[in-house]
Symmetry: D2
Subunit: 339 residues, 4 copies
């Protein structure tokens, strides 16, 4: 059994991680910690009563090193970078769920996360854990940077096109909608029940910090700079993301060719489901699973492609994908604990 730790158990990602890991047949959770919360995990999250007797400690590096072979960091942005380096140095495998090792250029952190990057050395070494694109690198990673929720849905929705036909792409608009758990457990007026229920709104219009992450990996796939328009919205549901992606094409595109392209691209992927022509993904079908469902449509004039991509923001968009990455890094079956 591999000994794993979770740092950041008091957040939603930490909770979902623990839920998955308790069912995982090849790991044992030996350490849980948080920045400010301490105490029995089944008091922090009463849903775990009867499932675990784990106790959450204030994070202590020596304890983490002592107790774990692999550590999940489910910390807020700009916090993981204070912790990851030492664990890497101690030879531990690290799966970081924050944004801290996702952007290649440290200067981008100043612009999008409003702070100086504290660990540029490891930033260069970190592997971006989208297995469908970078599985070979994930296998050998020591420091794994787990993708953001919006980027996961966007990149999986666009990968076949960008990897194989990027020259035909003229423009990309991503209209993204996420459930409220995407905002984390921050206690703010905007996230009170009576502010989210029976409501819907856009936020951080054209200014969301996931924009550069999406652009960076689309550009890598396309092997040329790709610019997107990205607008996220807040859905009155707990969990789930649906992104509606409008791709303006330079050449005519046919739905059946496109469908074939996507099916082939994802043929062996256990967690990507390309739906038949005319079928649209629904958040309800992916929530609490590690699947990404993809739908395709083409305009009458064949110059506009609409890709719809649905995931659970806390599973394929965070903790499920983190476990998928761990499975690859540790040589387990990639679907262990996730089906």
């Amino acid at each position: 059994m591999v000994k794993v730790g979770i740092v950041g158990i008091s957040g939603f990602s930490g909770k979902v991680l623990l839920d998955i890991l308790l069912r995982h047949s090849q790991v044992r959770v030996t350490y849980v910690a948080a920045n400010s919360t301490t105490g029995r995990v089944d008091e922090i999250w009463p849903e775990f009563l009867g499932r675990t007797s784990l106790v959450c400690h204030k994070y202590d590096q020596a304890q983490a090193v002592e107790a774990c072979d692999l550590v999940f960091l489910a910390l807020p942005h700009m916090e993981s970078m204070k912790v990851a380096g030492a664990l890497v140095k101690a030879g531990k495998k690290v799966v970081d769920l924050s944004a801290d090792y996702r952007l290649k250029r440290s200067s981008l952190y100043k612009k999008w996360y409003h702070g100086e990057h504290k660990d540029p050395k490891n930033l260069r070494k970190a592997v971006y854990g989208l297995p469908e694109m970078f599985r070979a690198k994930v296998k050998k990673a020591q420091l794994l940077s787990n993708p953001g929720c919006y980027p996961t849905a966007a990149l999986l929705g666009l990968a076949p096109l960008m990897a194989l036909h990027s020259g035909d792409v003229a423009s990309v608009v991503i209209d993204a909608k996420s459930g409220a758990s995407g905002a984390g457990k921050k206690v703010t007026e905007a996230l009170m029940y009576c502010g989210v229920n029976e409501n819907f709104k856009a936020y951080k219009v054209l200014q969301h910090q996931h924009t550069p992450e999406i652009e960076q990996y689309l550009s890598i796939m396309a092997e040329r700079p790709v610019v997107i328009a990205f607008v996220p919205h807040l859905l009155p549901i707990d969990s789930g993301i649906l992104e509606t992606i409008y791709v303006g094409m330079k050449e005519n595109v046919s739905l059946s060719a496109l469908h074939q392209l996507y099916r082939k691209f994802y043929k062996t992927e256990p967690f990507v489901r390309v739906l038949g022509p005319g079928v649209q993904p629904e958040i309800r079908h992916v929530v609490r699973t590690n699947f990404c469902d993809i739908g395709l449509a083409v305009s009458e004039d064949k110059r506009m492609l609409v890709v719809t991509s649905a995931i659970d923001n806390l599973v394929k968009g965070a903790s499920g994908q983190a476990v998928q990455n761990m499975n690859i890094m540790c040589g387990f079956s990639e679907t262990e604990g996730l089906l």
Copy 2:
């Protein structure tokens, strides 16, 4: 007091119409009818208990003519056209909430509504009741075609730009989200609680019947053919529409100039609220009102404009706008019953 009738009381639009008209100081509801439902209105809609003793009859033209000066038709598409002509001939004012008189070319009905238009003569005479664009014509209308819900939000969101700067517009993508009441009272599996709650999905992707209505009036404003990409989605809320409109620009655009343009365009409009730069509309702020709230944003490279437009689909998107049109047609204060 003007005597008004509601045909189609058993649908959501009919219900909201009655709710507004019962508070209106210058009309009296003298006739309510439906196609299949009959009986006391407060049994069809228990919320009206103690507010009205009206009884719903099976629609009868002679009764309608006898009882009403003005008739609201809140019937399904392809049904109003069987009824409106006779009322017009009898000299009655008619406000039709269906799509039956919205498209200029009767041939479009075959494509988008799957039927032959039965009343092409009146189709030519009907006035499209978006007061912010066509108030002068509405004043003199006898047969008023009330705009669709999605078109109302889209056209108000784009009118200033299309009327005054359409030459700069390169592309228009409309990502629309609507609450479940937009689908009407049809009893279908897809609209059951457990199919809508905690869910979100796109539907009729690039194939929704409101597309030609939006294109027709954008083209009139722009004085050139305008083509859009339009994708609607189903929100897990009762009522409300938010549309996120991505406008690709041929020239650089500045947010402050745009904001000024919109503010000036709508300066005297009682029901359009242009929000300040950086402020986004929320469905919660317009629901159960006749307001349309508009937000504006511009991309860093100044070539992409994002307009967000929010209405209540049953009020400004249907019954409220119908009453606004009646107010104009009858010479009442335009806001009577609506503030």
Copy 3:
């Protein structure tokens, strides 16, 4: 026009009050204030944009006295009592929506509201504003204590029985369910979207502060001490209360006799709707109205009566009833602004 003020505009009751009063034909809102929030009302509550240009001030007694004939206090419990006395002394009519003048004995405030009552003199003078029971007193009231939301539904559900047949009543259990707006605008973890949505729970079991208020007025109606078991629950909806009241009877009771009793008792009441035998109230039918809907059922052995009572906690349970009381106090039509 009577000049009215609202103190506590930043809370939900204050907002709903303003919404009703802006449509009221015989008053003008001349003053709005709050304890901590200041600024344009349409910035505090964007839904009012285009409906009012009122500005919210930090509460100032001299200003309130100067500007208003009647003042609504929509303040937190234990705050109204600091303000009401001076307004009464200045000859103003006061409608207090807090609990501060509801309990007859000041000692009860220590137990249930954890503080010393600051204004026992006016506590004795205050009139409890449940018009269906105390209309004659309300007419002459200067200081009106507006009932709590749970008590309104409970007292209206039990009044006919308690006023006319209290001798037959053996036991009263009140199982109450309320939407999230009942908790006010407190920003707490328990009221975050992800804690209320898709959830349901009891709270303050047998310990809610509305218990003594309900018992006090049931006892007045019954002319003997009445003790209840009261358990409130939190519903995942914005607004609305449904109470299911189980009355154990000493004598057999018949549904038809009971139904007649209730119908007769409320015959002339504009806001109480006694539903037919077999019909159950639904929150949806009363929400955003000042109605209280009542359903009745009797057990097979005729010894248990189940009364179901539904209101909107913010309307009949707070601001709507406050306006109803103002209408009576000022000699307006009792339903003005409320139908």
Copy 4:
């Protein structure tokens, strides 16, 4: 591997059964059927895409007998009794999720389920599968009658009291609230999104068919006839039941003694969690689990006990408990597939 079949895959219970059984390490699902729906399971329920290639057939007894060692019947009431007998005769183990074998007296089916019982012989043999009460009998059962959702929460909430102190119990009122999935997949106007969302109501007041089931097993535990008042309500959530149970006591009761009693009674139960004094169960903590959470409170005068009991109606209230029973019947670990 034990070969199991699911008859009634098109309903919610069937779906949840399959979800659990696909993760179960000791069974293989070899047969799925339904009454009217046929085709690939991942088309009936798109959430199963990529998880199973099972095909649903119209139910055929010979096929079921051929393919399965144990059959789950997730059929509507009055349908299971047409099918179960033959499977039992063929020597198969049967777990029936309908009500068809729950009531001891076949005459009760006429009153509560409006039909003649077709299989009274097996009715006598069937074992009621509430493991916490009848584990020894479950072990040897061939025909297992899985408890109803409301009865499960009620019986677990009352078992310690009824088994050990029934003499002190004077009255039992059960106020029950269930999510919409409890009504099954019927396509009716009452279950449409806009009829359930933002709504709440009681239904079948004092007339719900689970009443005799609860009374029958309370009476068995108490060893005397127990009569209850039972009122169910419809919650605007997908899944989950909370019951608030008011027990009038003939003798004083202390919260700490009661708490001890419950803790001791359920000490070795893997799926019943007795919460600490002052802690209330929440639907959110049990949803999608097989747990039943129980909270306790006592009135000031010590004569009223309030038990709150929460389960997921589709898991512990249906399919989870069915698997728990199968585990016991087959000698598997009781928690296999369920933690």
